[in-house]
Amino acid sequence: MSNILRTSDLSKRFQQTVVLDHLNMIVPEHSVYGLVGPNGAGKTTTIKILMNARQPTEGMAEVFGRDSRKLSPEDFTQIGYVSENQQMPEWMTVEYFMNYLKPFYPDWDVVRAQELVRLFELPPDRKIRNLSHGMRMKAALASSLAYRPRLIVLDEPFTGLDALVRDELIEGVLECAEGATILISSHDLSEIESFASHIGYLDRGRLQFSEEMTSLVDRFREIEITLANPSPSPISWPAAWLNTEQSAALVRFVDTQFDQERTIAEVHRLFGNTHQISVNPMPLRAIFVTLAKAGRKAA
């Protein structure tokens, strides 16, 4: 699997504010890469640099193995980009917008474009300025999928959308993006969880982790221990345990490097006999909240 997107020591500063701090991120080809992180983590900035909409202060971003600052019109014929805050040509009707974009893309599929307009129930003769936010996102997405791009970049596409529209968008992307690489940044972790194959967690401009979804879900566990005998808190908790809580005979924490045998052995080493150990898998949202809380504490 080759890499479609890659950043190397990518940094971005706005005057004194560091937005990206030596970011190293790789998005493998054919993956659905979810870039998650709290507000201000640098997700949008990363994507804008990858799309050559902004310039890095240091380091480099590569798309299709090419420096993103040198992306050519030909490269953009293979990229579909949709952003929540994208400025659209408000005066165009949906139909004119689709027809206007057609000559820019050698691989524009007229039939598919019509299907997308139908699928998203877009009114062809309505001006973009008169579309709801959800409709605008659908129009942007339809215009970005009609030419079967090799890379689809979605920057916070679900923000402000109701559940139904979100589902329609996700379905649309999954139906039409077969074989494409998708980079999606979102706060809407529950949706990402359902289809992301890889996940990257960005916090304060640094990538805290980047891995396959399966391995991420496997290594995060919420653990609750009922101690046989109440004991004092350990002097130092293992570094991989986050959000540790202890009250009398009850201990709770999130193990970020869960391994059945090793974790149980560590519990016994620290607390002696236990009455019960409950190990629960975590949804992506819970993992994200845990990491965000731990990040704030550390800060």
Binding site: Q55, F76, I79, L101, F104
Partner: protein
Amino acid sequence: MRQALHIFKKDVRHLWFEIAVVITVVVAFAFTGARRALWLVDPATNRTAAWTLVLILLPLAWWTLIARVIHDEALPGDSQFWITRPYSWKSLLGAKALFILTFVNIPVWLADGVIVRAYGLPLGAEMPGLLWSQVLLAIVFILPIAALSALTTGFVQLVFAILTPCVIALGLAIVAPEVVLGGFLGGLDWVKTYYLFLVISVAASAILVWQYAMRRTAAGRSLALAAGILAVLGMTLIPWSVAFRIQSWFSKQRLDQSLVHVDFDSRNRWLARAVIERGDRVRIELPLDIAGLPPGIIAKPEGFSVHLQGPDGTVWQANQLLAGKMGQKFSLEAAVDGAFYRKIKDEPLKVRGSLYMTLFGNRRTVRVPFLDRSVLVPRVGVCSATGGVHRQSYFLICSSAFRFPPVLVSYSFIPSAKEALQDVWSSTEPRRPISYSPFPAEPGISPVSQDFTFSTVRVPLSEARVDTLEPLAHIRRNFEIDNLRLGDFEVRPAPVSP
């Protein structure tokens, strides 16, 4: 090219209303401009208000259209839909250039042609002016607004970008006008103007190419600021002597001027003065004689530099532009510091200097009869002379295409033979300052410049006359005066009696 045409078609569809407004104003411009030609034969038809309104509306309509078409794909920012689409910057820039050419340049070019023709000026002969006026239109009205539009995201930002330097320039012009405008260089003033045009065209073109290719707005704005500073500095600091050198370089020297020389006019030595003035200043006046001029040639001193040196090596120098009259005799006037004067006034001085002058010749006279039609006047354009009500007032109106004539023009009225002995007003002095610009057009919207004069003498006039003199050479001649004792020419102002 295909992409450029595709974007162009989109812009036409989007901006049809703005295009319609521009075309309407251009049609009004052509109509009112052509109607003004009637003024040549009937001064009562002058419609100044409509014409003035059109001259105000036209640039406003152009600027709105230019800003709108560039802002349609705004360059600053990172959220525009088009920046992540396969736009080629060359196609985008080409589309915008094609749009401006189609809806700004071509219509006004045609309108200029209609107006020039309406005046009876020959289009073929005026073609260089017609083309050069398009270059000036691009430099003065298109490029600056296009560059500013490329650095802004919308109309509000653009208006702010236009008004800010205007307010600063206005403030400076009030406090220190010489900083903003520099001094007026007379016929050489076009050098400063074209320096400004050069800065505008280079900076604006660089900003446009840079922005379309790179979209680095901060750098583009810095370039615009630097260009503004460079323009003001140049306008302020270009000395007239440099302007004169540039003028000489541009002019064809169509004259043998090897014998021309400048000397102290010893025959009129009595005209020399050292006038004590208030504020501890002394005005020195030295009569000079321009000799060796070929027959029929008149000299016009444009400026001088002078260097006074006392026996002890003390030096005073001046460098001055002149707005004097034409002629062979010339009085060099310069104010020296009182302290310096007192120190050297009784010492034999050495005066060294250079006189910069323009030589005029090839006089041509064209008679313009009082008829209801205009007459072609070579070097000027067309002129018509009309006798007013009951032949008690007479008008002479001359129209020139794209610029005032690059020659000295003077007008006069000729009385009928039987009235020839009566005193009839006539002007042999040039009507307006000449510009030595070698270019066939001057900046401005109106393609025709007009000049008129009239006479109200109560005698019948037979015809008017237009005299022209052509600038043939711009030359510099050095002069030296030895053993000049300024104290010998000292003049003290008479005391004011109570």
